[in-house]
Symmetry: C2
């Protein structure tokens, strides 16, 4: 089964509408949450918004990253026709930007990808920025 070239893996990841962010909780457990995001080069931008469903859980990702910046993200396409399956994983290191130009960059990129972000809800939350070290992908078809 063919591995995807890193550029093709990144291209597919960048075109996906949702990804899943895995962090490690302070108790050593893995933690998972779906995120909206934007890719620029080898950087993935996300933001803790007030728009989508959240709870006290919502900041778990931030606490986890502060304690352990190693993260993994996954974008995938599922179909019951398994000839169409593919997935891309991005492994990297995350930082939290509570303000400043990198957070502004995140907001600009996210607002251009996701119309609901063009309204309110981005005032308070920090941006999450992942420096991707490896784009790894597989596809059932080459």
């Amino acid at each position: 089964m063919p591995a995807l070239e890193p550029d093709e893996a990144r291209r597919r990841f960048a075109a996906a509408r949702v990804a899943r962010l895995a962090t490690i909780a302070p108790d050593g457990r893995p933690h998972l949450v779906p995120i909206t995001f934007a890719v620029e080069g080898d950087r993935i931008y996300s933001i803790v918004d007030d728009v989508k469903p959240k709870s006290s859980q919502s900041l778990a990702r931030v606490r986890n990253i502060v304690a352990n910046p190693r993260v993994s993200l996954l974008a995938d396409e599922y179909s019951d026709n398994w000839q169409r399956l593919w997935w891309v994983r991005a492994d990297g290191t995350a930082t939290i930007a509570p303000g400043g130009p990198e957070r502004e960059r995140a907001i600009g990129l996210l607002q251009s990808r996701y119309p609901p972000y063009r309204g309110a809800g981005l005032e308070s939350g920090p941006a999450l920025i992942v420096e991707v070290e490896r784009w790894i992908g597989w596809s059932a078809r080459s």
Copy 2:
């Protein structure tokens, strides 16, 4: 934003066609892979098959679970209409079944959910069985 009741969270997870499995690698990094699965009670069954795209990476999940059985799984639905978003996370403890009745149970459940499994490709791989301790879910709509 409304949390889902555990029974409803489990119901939605069980109906999803794909989930993402987070494990912790021996170097402490999170690892992510999409999986097909079946739910019975508070147990999630999966299997390392020969049908979908795999590589030496494919057994990373097995190695990781042997070293650290704590796992998290996520099923989610994305739509650009954010009123339709929901996700369910299952946190639990995984075991590997290279053979025996639990592996047979996994094969039976998976073959009844996924037609491609009814052919070949399930002879060699071990089953992954997750005892779920918490079903946590959120939905934009109650």
